[in-house]
């Protein structure tokens, strides 16, 4: 059994007339960069709120280091919500200090660490400025520092890259990976598959309040690999649908390519059906080419949601 820093066991949560989480279980290995994926409204934020003890689960339990969560554990968790804010009328340094002290740091220690972080991210000059004078990128740096300054062993980022410009997003990525080097475990919640592919090593996919896919990225890729083809053909959409309907799942919208052809990605459910698919495409859709491709996380995401993985 692997060493898990966080264990979620059969967690369910209902709001009036709506089940936000339905019997979700997952394990986050220590030192992982863990992707929590799912469409909007799938229940990711609810799960994160339960981990942060903002809301309480109706059923099931959450273990940190094998022990049920207590109020003190918030000091070991750093959480950067998707919607983030700072007090506009407050000075940057004071504000960072306020958040750091809320996370249990003593004033002097908090100040020492914050100064270090400010130096590092090149915003030391901003210590005495008002937050409302900061650019958005600067404010996000401050927010990031406030999230990590108490050196939590578990870090949770909700859609961390949304709203960051490419330079800051890259800096953030480097810093996050750096934090992992120094022993932190990181949970990402996102619906942006590209960022997952780049840095996550484990994922859980939540859809309609349920955990529908969990594991290491490598393993999932291997499991989902094969039987994905990029097809170039010449026919209208309805003909294509009719030809492939019962044998394959389309993974993308078909797009026009050079020479009047169209291109689409599809997953063929069973190996021995491939020949039949080729035959039909050839016959009905003027097949031009067909290549096997490795599945992207996006493909896997769509197939998992459609139940065809």
């Amino acid at each position: 059994m692997t060493d898990s820093i966080l264990t979620i066991e059969h967690v369910s949560k209902s709001y009036t007339g709506h089940k936000a989480l339905n019997d979700v279980s997952l394990e986050v290995p220590r030192g992982a960069v863990y992707g929590l994926l799912g469409p909007n409204g799938a229940g990711k934020t609810t799960l994160i709120r339960i981990i942060n003890r903002i809301t309480i689960a109706d059923e099931g339990r959450v273990l940190l280091d094998g022990k049920p969560l207590t109020a003190e554990d918030v000091y070991h968790i750093g959480y950067m919500p998707e919607e983030r804010g700072l007090y506009k009328k407050m000075r940057v340094g004071e504000q960072a200090l306020f958040f750091a002290r809320l996370k249990g740091l003593e004033r002097r220690e908090a100040e020492r660490r914050l100064k270090g972080w400010f130096e590092r991210l090149g915003i030391a000059d901003w210590w005495g400025r008002n937050v409302e004078d900061l650019s958005k990128g600067m404010a996000q740096k401050v927010q990031f520092i406030a999230t990590v300054v108490h050196e939590p062993k578990l870090l949770i980022f909700d859609e961390p890259f949304s709203g960051f410009d490419p330079i800051n997003a890259n800096m953030l990525k480097e810093e996050i990976l750096g934090l992992r080097e120094r022993g932190a475990t990181i949970i990402f919640s996102t619906h942006n598959m590209a960022s997952v592919e780049e840095i996550c090593d484990h994922i859980t996919l939540i859809n309609k309040s349920q955990n529908i896919l969990s594991g290491s990225v490598e393993e999932i890729r291997r499991r989902a690999g094969g039987n994905i083809f990029e097809v170039v053909y010449s026919a209208d959409d309805s003909t294509l649908h009719a030809a492939t309907n019962d044998l394959a799942t389309l993974l993308s919208e078909s797009q026009g390519v050079v020479g009047g052809y169209r291109r689409v990605k599809m997953h063929v459910k069973e190996d021995d059906k491939l020949r039949e698919v080729i035959a039909r495409l050839n016959e009905q859709c003027a097949l031009r080419s067909l290549n096997e491709v490795m599945p992207s996380m996006n493909d896997i995401f769509i197939r998992a949601v459609n139940g065809t993985l």
């Binding site: 709001y15 903002i54 750093g78 919500p81 407050m90 809320l102």
Partner: protein, 428 residues
Amino acid sequence: MKNTWLIIMREWGERVRKKSFIITTLLMPLFMIGMMVAPTLMMLYSKGEEKQIVVLDRSGQNIAERLMPTAEAQFVLDEQMSKTEACRIYNEESGIFGILYIGSDVEQRDSVQLITNSSSSMMLEENIASQISAIIEHDKLASYNIENIEAILAEVKTNIELSTFLNDGTGVEESMEVTSSSINYILGLVLGMILYMVIILYGQMVLTSVVEEKASRVVDVLVTSCTPLQIMMGKILGIALVAMTQIAIWALLVIAASKFLLPSLFSAEVVATNDIMLQSLMGTLGNTGYVATLFLYLLLFIIGGFLLYASLYAAAGSAVDSVMDGQQFNSVIMMPIILSIIAMMSVFNDPNSPLAFWTSMIPLTSPIVMIARIPCGIALWEIIVSLVLLYATFIFTTWAAAKIYRVGIFMHGKRPSWRDLWVWFRMK
């Protein structure tokens, strides 16, 4: 606990350092004094331009000649003109303020008329009426041909001053407290108004601040280290501390004035004047112990009243996305406050009327009404019962508000209905 304290200190520190806080704290007393002194000063120094009133005297009693100019108007005699003609000539362009027409039989209705080109003042109208009455009375008395009538009249004139004391049972007049109903009413009114202002101003500040924290999503960050109850209480108590800081500064100013400034004024100037009202006002305010006790009660009722309303404002703020949306709930919260003000007015007719008594016991209206009653001398048990009820209700409303707050701060989008609030309240 530590986190609540951090939030309190943040709320307090941010507000107390604002320029607007410092300015209002120092200027408010000056403003209040100004409000009291300004009307007198204006009367003294700015008489404005003198009004000319043309008098058409048809009484045959030479009334017009005996009219004395008032502070604002002079009377000009015109013997010849008819009323209609005068009205045409002395119109707005003429620069004349108006026409005073005195008919042949002065005591008949509609016989004395003031026809003006612009609106006249109550003071001027009263002055004219009383002058003419006095002249007629004088003429009537003179017609009896009594010897030395002037001397007799002067001799008959009487003016009684009523001194009032609160019976302390000792029978020793010197130990009894000097009271004055009018001073008590004024004090009650001022205290009630202070409480009203604090509840409204600082209560709204809670609402605005909760909405801002929610809209800017700072609260999403805060909840990762504090419980919603801590955040709400930290905010309410922090703002309460701001209010108390302000009142404490005012109290110090007033007490200092009562201790050092008033005694020196009292001895010299005030005793010289015979204004009993002014004397008892100085007496009341010069009683430092009494002033301090009043401030203690004021503080107790302000804390209770503010906390009660602040929790309601916090719940309302947590439920909406913008201050504008908050108005829907704000207007409902305002209702009992307005009611308190109306009930407070009844205190001035009779501080012990059933309406005054009950509204000073019911927690939503009690802070404002009770503080207005206290200067009138209310039994201590009534004050204690009122305070206990107030604080018990505050605990209840805070508990209820926290239940709405903890759900509300995460709800964005549609403005919630009353039914939604009820659903949130009952959520586990």
